[in-house]
Subunit: 370 residues, 2 copies
């Protein structure tokens, strides 16, 4: 079945459970990012906490996925609020309402079943200061409304906002024409109209995201967003990897393993924006002002060939469901083995010497309505 | 593995998915109860709505399970609030926050995946008046705190509160002694100390339930609770069925298919209280006053033998996980086939002529703290 417009919400999901290809087993990059940025997150929550002087704090994690990182954010938030509470000399403990969000197809059952263990661990670690916290989940796409008006104090989102709500319409219209194909997303050789289509889709999606969060935030509320970004118009290591994945798919089409027409119709619903692009959408949309905006480098030197499989698995965990929806399950193992080999060869030939993921880190504060 | 104290929270769950033995396919009794009591629920929500004059209403369904009934309650709530809104002549639509709760082992993935379809249906049905609503889920046992203080306006719970938090301790101490066994819960021939142990466990559980809900409700909030009850001290059709299940288990122990010692250690963590008992716990606990309290009869005449399988399946959907945790999966099919046969034979011999489930329906209102 081809990926049709509007279906991304149903077809895009991290691989559940804890098997070899699961997101749980292949999300160490995302974990590293969360840990790297902890002190910056601390700062952002501190600002919010001190301004609002809240007895009950509602924090949402958008795109929580299912795996070890899902509850890591909650654990960090508990650390941060405990510390702030101690400094505040308040007598009553604040209560934290922590809301997990992801698409309805996310493996929430796994997350819920890991909660008991998490609660036990937290209780043991913090016997002397246990901030009461309550966990809930809201399934749905963040490219639209998810929560009642003015009910959230703080949004957190890590490595999720580069996923678009859909493949840009302009690309779908070209299905079958096969002009300029061979690629599955923006690459160094993409023609300008493809780049533009992706850019505009991101612009629309991110604007709706900001409008929705504005409605949902209470006065004084804020957001902490991190997601892959670029520092220059030319490709980064993500687009290099995307080319290698496209090469693997093209080889399989040449050999008749997958349909050429289906490959021509395949575009991935993600976009890695420039920091400047993101800033300009926020300023143009006027719901928020920017408290902080950085580009953070998460650089992994690659010198062992085995890393090919690791990188391929970590990308598989994120895109497998999308690929399977397009081509069927049967091709998955072969595709990602070819992909891993290509990455390994690139490392061996020193074409790929590092996996440099740049991440945009943005702290936003809700503007007071005029 | 034996069912140990405190493990009920993990081992008790309705069967997920939509297979032959799933709760989804075997919950028509519960559905009938929800439909039967709709006008009474309407009344209760109306009282709350008119007293509180809310712009945003948070309603929780405790023990929501997974199946067609899960979203039926939400659909009823939307009906009721739409009607009240029309009568009120208010200009702005209220927002509804609907929170689903069940044990972490409940199949929330199924529920979340059915939400998109539900939303589409609601949108088609109510094009002219669509109350904005938001759905979230909170995993955990209602025998304790689940929500931050004063954040809920109304609790709904159907066919859940007869489940205890654990098998009474007194019964566990007798493991291996095997005195007065052959039964797996209270029956017409149970000795008084067993009845007392169950009664006291229910009392403790229901008191903690009331205390927890009191903390979580905002001023003026209320609760709507329905669950199996009795009108006299002697057994009802539930205890007759429980005897037939015990007979099936005893026969399997005699034949060496299951261990006699394990059967001796098996007690079910449920209790069907008298209406008077429930009332007296509420009055003694003082968190709530009773607005309404009825005993409602859901009487099914049994005259066809095939009903045996239907009844056995509907009970299987509720208790399978508990039985499997105790004896292992392997015995399930044989046990419930024997059970179905016994029910069919009872119907044929006119020993079981009706399945008369009595349900307690209670409307509570939070007392204002002194």
């Amino acid at each position: 079945m081809e990926a049709r417009r509007g279906e991304v919400k149903q077809t895009l999901q991290m691989i559940g459970g804890d098997g070899e290809y699961s997101y749980a087993a292949n999300s160490s990059g995302q974990r590293k990012l969360i840990i790297m940025t902890k002190s910056m997150l601390e700062n952002a929550i501190e600002q919010m906490f001190k301004t609002l002087l809240l007895k009950r704090i509602t924090i949402v994690d958008l795109g929580c996925s299912s795996g070890p990182n899902t509850l890591l954010v909650l654990s960090q938030v508990l650390d941060i609020i405990s510390k702030l509470y101690k400094q505040s000399k308040e007598e009553t403990l604040p209560e934290i309402q922590f809301i997990l969000n992801d698409l309805p197809s996310n493996d929430f059952n796994s997350v819920f079943q890991s909660l008991e263990e998490f609660k036990k661990k937290i209780k043991e670690e913090r016997e002397n200061l246990l901030i009461p916290y309550y966990v809930s989940a809201v399934p749905g796409s963040f490219h639209g409304r998810l929560f009642p008006s003015s009910t959230v104090h703080f949004f957190h989102s890590s490595t999720s906002l580069h996923w678009l709500s859909q493949v840009p319409k302009e690309l779908e219209r070209t299905q079958g024409i096969s002009q300029s194909k061979g690629s599955i997303s923006i690459t160094r050789t993409s023609p300008p109209w493809i780049v533009k289509a992706y850019q505009e889709q991101f612009q629309r999606d991110f604007s709706i995201f900001l409008k929705s969060r504005f409605e949902e935030l209470s006065v004084g509320g804020g957001a902490w967003l991190t997601f892959p970004g670029r520092d220059h118009v030319d490709g980064d290591s993500l687009s290099h990897l995307s080319e290698l994945l496209a090469d693997s798919l093209n080889a399989m089409a040449e050999e008749g393993i997958i349909s050429k027409a289906k490959l021509d119709a395949l575009y991935f619903p993600f976009y890695v924006p420039l920091l400047e692009e993101v800033k300009s959408i926020i300023l143009g949309e006027s719901s928020f002002h920017i408290e902080q905006a950085h580009l953070l480098s998460n650089n992994i030197e690659l010198y062992i060939v085995q890393d090919g499989k690791k990188i391929a698995n970590s990308i598989r965990a994120g895109i497998e469901s999308f690929v399977a929806h397009h081509f069927g399950d049967a091709i998955l193992d072969e595709l990602f083995e070819r992909f891993a080999e290509k990455i390994s060869r690139s490392i061996l030939e020193e074409k790929l010497t590092k996996c440099n993921t740049l991440n945009i880190v943005i702290v936003l504060k809700k503007n007071t309505p005029q």
